[in-house]
């Protein structure tokens, strides 16, 4: 049922983030060892590292890919208070398949560690949002998509609370104005709800806060909007003390509040404490139908909604974080079905 392949990541320290590009054939990893590596999947489905470079002067927290119609572009953010944008050099590849990535610009506006960086949805042009521990979300835009050295800081959103993660609403529909959700890991309960939702108002040309999710008062470690495949509502997953999934339904133009901001009907459609510990990372699949969550219990869980809209866990992946005694010929992956007691062992060859 599962096919797995493991390969060494070759970072010298903890990996903080891995992101696939849009097509799932390239991947970028970033780590506490200050470097970023880019990997390519070749015809035999093997992953090869095609670039590796020192990107920052501190741990690199996140990496994100831009849509390929802008070329091969990634952005990284780091503990060294900067975010950077990198582009792959055009031209002949070196004999060993390695490519060169060049820094196009550094965004140095933040006074504290930049905790998350995300490119905006493609149809909005080339926009980038960063959030930092100094409570500000900054939105940059590339003035000329063919010359990526020029980015201008378009908006600064004061969130009033230290930010740990952000997510653009990827909705393809033109009817939905731009929306960003920001999560905070401020530990004090006095600061209220830790998930803020901001929307861009065309009328006033400003980003305004439209919602604070009231039930989310624990520090938030990650949040993610689900890709919207034509539903009339948005789905937002929030990782904090447990995993919550919210459905956010815009109520339409008639019910615009004062100041012309949209109103929403918000429900928590699921809440899971299966991890029995803090939930750290979330990731949606391409269709927004399956969510993966990673928790402090060292497990990854996959969640899916059935046709009646009820979410449940469909798979649990348990990782063994210990170093194995190094016989590098093959790794054994044990796949256990817990309910019918069958144990199968697959051999996984390293790349």
């Amino acid at each position: 049922m599962l096919a797995t392949k493991a390969f060494p990541a070759a970072h010298e320290d903890l990996i903080h983030d891995i992101e696939y590009d849009f097509h799932g054939r390239r991947m970028a990893t970033c780590s506490s060892d200050h470097t970023v590596k880019v990997w390519d999947c070749d015809e035999n489905d093997q992953w090869q590292c095609t670039a590796s470079w020192k990107a920052h002067n501190g741990s690199v927290w996140r990496v994100t890919w831009a849509h390929p119609e802008f070329g091969q572009v990634i952005a990284t953010c780091s503990f060294d208070r900067t975010a950077a944008i990198w582009e792959e050099l055009v031209g002949d590849q070196a004999k060993d398949g390695k490519t060169q990535w060049v820094r196009k610009t550094s965004l140095v506006d933040s006074r504290t560690s930049v905790t998350d960086v995300k490119f905006g949805p493609r149809h909005l042009g080339l926009q980038l949002a960063t959030c930092s521990a100094d409570c500000i979300v900054r939105i940059y835009e590339a003035q000329n998509v063919l010359n990526l050295s020029q980015w201008s800081l378009q908006y600064e959103i004061q969130c009033g609370i230290t930010c740990s993660c952000l997510s653009w609403n990827p909705s393809l529909s033109r009817m939905h104005p731009m929306m960003i959700a920001v999560g905070s890991d401020d530990p004090s309960p006095g600061t209220g709800g830790k998930v803020h939702i901001y929307e861009y108002s065309e009328n006033s040309r400003k980003w305004k806060r439209v919602e604070i999710i009231p039930v989310s008062t624990e520090p938030v470690h990650d949040l993610a909007f689900a890709p919207n495949v034509g539903r009339s509502y948005h789905t937002l997953a929030v990782a904090s003390k447990d995993l919550s999934i919210f459905s956010i339904k815009p109520l339409g133009k008639e019910s615009l509040g004062s100041g012309g901001i949209s109103k929403f009907e918000m429900h928590r459609v699921a809440e899971f404490s299966d991890h029995e510990s803090q939930v750290w990372r979330l990731s949606w699949n391409v269709l927004g139908t399956v969510l993966s969550s990673s928790g402090d219990d060292g497990r990854v869980r996959l969640w899916k909604a059935n046709y009646a809209g009820k979410w449940k866990c469909i798979q649990v992946i348990n990782g063994n974080g210990q170093k194995m005694s190094t016989t590098k010929d093959s790794k054994i992956v044990t796949v256990t079905s817990s309910n019918n007691q069958i144990q199968r062992i697959y051999e996984v060859k390293p790349v």
């Binding site: 049922m1 097509h23 390929p68 269709l287 139908t289 993966s292 974080g321 199968r344």
Partner: protein
């Protein structure tokens, strides 16, 4: 009510840092990367050096059952059946449609059976223990699916006009339970059949399946076959009314009477003690009478409660109708549960079918049979939907059950390198979400090569997805640019109608020309047609190329006026004007007058403009070098000389 299976736990050994916790990121389709990553705790505090270590990334993929070479055949062939079925639904109605449905159902089952046989063959010839086990698992699941499908086809799809279904049920049982037949074959080949240890077992098994002729044959091989008792039984069997023979001639009621009459005869003979000498024969006739107790003994010959059910119906109530089956079903199930057999998933599904609870059937099948693949439930539900057996109202997520399952199935095909096209076809038949799913998948589909890009473009154009066409072309253009293939990039950008990218690229081409004096992409430029008007720069480049062609073919006048119009229209980038003037020079210097005075004035005006602009630049690096100043002066001289030539020529009266 069946409980749903708990989630399976999968254990992965991901080599990683002791501090790291397992995390995962999605790829395309059903693909995840699992890695040992950081948590905010580990980020903020300092960590001892020995905890810093390399970790591994694990590439995890699942739901790939349908991706193996054997099941791929299943996918492709059932795809054909599916598409044909949708077409027939759209065009036929009534009884014609029903027969099409039945045929489609049979086709699906036939394909499934063939796939099963392939798997069996693979399992036999397979050497790897683990692989063989997975084949066998797969075969088992397929067997279950075939059983369920056959049963449901009888109940819901192939509904006979009179509502009687015993014959179909008998066929179904005979198809799936072949022990009786096999034993009979063994026995027939034996030297002394009647002394074969399984002789009576075979007879009873066949009897319970209604194989009356085979039973008679086996009985005739008995040593006592001339005995009166045997002859009597043979007669009873011979006269047993079977619906298959009568259903054209008699109505159900008439047949029922005939049958009761026959059964009464069996009863009479039994009570009169005709078979006392042969206990086995007595049991046999008791079965014929439909005696309740004897069926309890026979249940081992049946092997399962549904077989028992059909056998009972054969001898107790052959004109049973579908809605009445469930009265008898529970009693049969009890026979088995009382003796300790546990009811499994399959049994629950069949029971739900007997109770006509289609939704439960689908729900249970989804829960138990589709952890590997959505193939079964999606095709099955689609068929039931078209038979009108399903509630078509929309569910909370926005569409109906059929669509939900088809979406799941199509999604599971998307990550495969060739089955994705099949997936897209299925999505076409999902009226609510199909299109957005297709859009989403196409946006993320990797454009590995031109062929795939063209395929995707074709798919988008067929479905009128203009935006996706543009995006694909832009991405392909960027890719070509990355590889240095400027000509290909240009044609992609043109197709995407992206003005900015086209202009930028054209400027690059123009710069290259001015450096090397060579045109590289002449084929593309020559065959652009109206596309060249997409960008000013491009129009200029094409016309400039035309100028060169005219010049080389000696049509200097045309070339000259074209050059002039290029300068006048200000199509060229300013930086290129010097080159244009250089091109003009040979024309100016030639003996004939090519540029007349009017045209020369225009040229001079342009030159002045150029000079002004270049002089006005305050940026020192852009100021004219001396060499360039000289060039401009030289040009000025050329123009003046031409002017005088022209004026002279125009002023001269031609003597005849």
């Amino acid at each position: 009510m069946a409980t749903e299976r708990e989630s399976e736990t999968v254990h992965l050994n991901v080599e990683g840092c002791p501090d790291g916790k397992l995390q995962a990121i999605w790829g395309l389709g059903n693909q995840l990367f699992a890695f040992s990553g950081s948590t905010p705790n580990t980020r903020s505090k300092g960590r001892p050096a020995e905890n810093r270590a390399a970790s591994d990334i694990c590439d995890v993929r699942w739901n790939t059952e349908m991706h193996t070479s054997i099941t791929r055949k299943l996918v492709n062939e059932t795809h054909n059946v599916f598409v044909m079925l949708q077409g027939q639904v759209a065009s036929s109605t009534g009884s014609n449609l029903q027969s099409q449905m039945v045929m489609s159902s049979k086709q699906y089952r036939a394909i499934l059976k063939a796939c099963s046989m392939d798997l069996m063959h693979m399992a036999e010839t397979c050497e790897d223990e683990g692989e063989r086990e997975s084949f066998e698992d797969q075969i088992q699941i397929f067997e279950m699916i075939q059983l369920i499908w056959g049963f449901c086809q009888i109940l819901f799809i192939e509904v006979t006009p009179d509502g009687l279904l015993l014959n179909q049920l008998l066929d179904w049982i005979k198809w799936h339970f072949t022990d009786g037949k096999r034993l009979a074959v063994d026995i027939l080949h034996d030297e002394i059949p009647a002394e074969h240890p399984a002789y009576w077992e075979a007879i009873f098994r066949l009897l319970l399946q209604g194989e009356v002729d085979s039973v008679r044959k086996l009985l005739s091989l008995n040593t006592s076959n001339q005995n009166e008792a045997f002859l009597s039984v043979d007669e009873l069997l011979r006269k047993m009314p079977q619906w298959a023979h009568y259903h054209h001639a008699l109505s159900a009621a008439e047949f029922d009477m005939k049958w009761r009459h026959w059964r009464d005869e069996c009863q009479r003979r039994l009570e009169e003690g005709h078979y006392v000498a042969f206990p086995n024969l007595e049991t046999l006739v008791m079965v014929l009478c439909g005696d309740e107790n004897v069926f309890a003994e026979m249940k081992d010959m049946c092997g399962s409660w549904y077989h028992l059910l059909v056998s009972k119906m054969l001898y107790q109530n052959p004109t049973v109708r579908a809605p009445d089956l469930h009265h008898y079903a529970e009693a049969c199930m009890e026979e088995f549960t009382l003796s300790g057999t546990r009811m499994g998933e399959l049994d629950n599904i069949l029971l739900a079918a007997i109770q006509f609870d289609i939704h439960q059937v689908i729900k249970d099948s989804s829960a138990f049979l589709s952890t590997g693949s959505w193939w079964f439930v999606s095709h099955f539900t689609d068929l039931l939907h078209h038979c009108g057996q399903l509630d078509t109202q929309n569910l909370a997520y926005g569409s109906n059950l059929r669509e939900f399952l088809l979406l799941e199935y199509a999604s599971s095909l998307m990550s495969h390198k060739s089955l994705w096209q099949v997936g897209i076809d299925y999505l076409d038949y999902c009226s609510v979400f199909g299109r957005t799913y297709i859009t989403q998948f196409i946006n993320h589909m990797s454009l590995d090569n031109e062929k795939k890009a063209h395929k995707l473009l074709h798919i988008c154009e067929e479905r009128n997805m203009q935006e996706e066409v543009q995006t694909i072309c832009k991405v392909m253009g960027m890719k070509s640019l990355r590889r240095g293939k400027l000509g290909a990039a240009l044609s992609w950008f043109l197709r995407s109608r992206d003005v900015t990218a086209t202009s930028k690229l054209t400027e690059r081409l123009i710069m290259e020309y001015s450096k090397t004096g060579q045109f590289e992409y002449t084929d593309i430029l020559d065959n652009l047609g109206p596309a060249m008007f997409l960008s000013n720069r491009l129009t200029f480049l094409v016309k400039y190329r035309e100028f060169h062609k005219l010049y080389e073919s000696g049509e200097t006048n045309k070339a000259a006026s074209l050059l002039l119009s290029l300068l006048e229209a200000r199509l060229a980038p300013r930086t290129f004007w010097i080159t244009l003037f250089k091109d003009a020079t040979p024309l100016l210097e030639s003996k004939e007058v090519i540029f007349n005075s009017g045209q020369t004035y225009v040229l001079m005006h342009c030159l002045e403009e150029l000079r002004h602009e270049l002089d006005a630049k305050t940026d020192i690096s852009q100021k004219l070098t001396d060499m360039e100043k000289d060039k401009l002066d030289l040009l000025q001289l050329c123009l003046t000389r031409n002017l005088s030539k022209a004026i002279k020529a125009e002023g001269t009266v031609k003597t005849s």
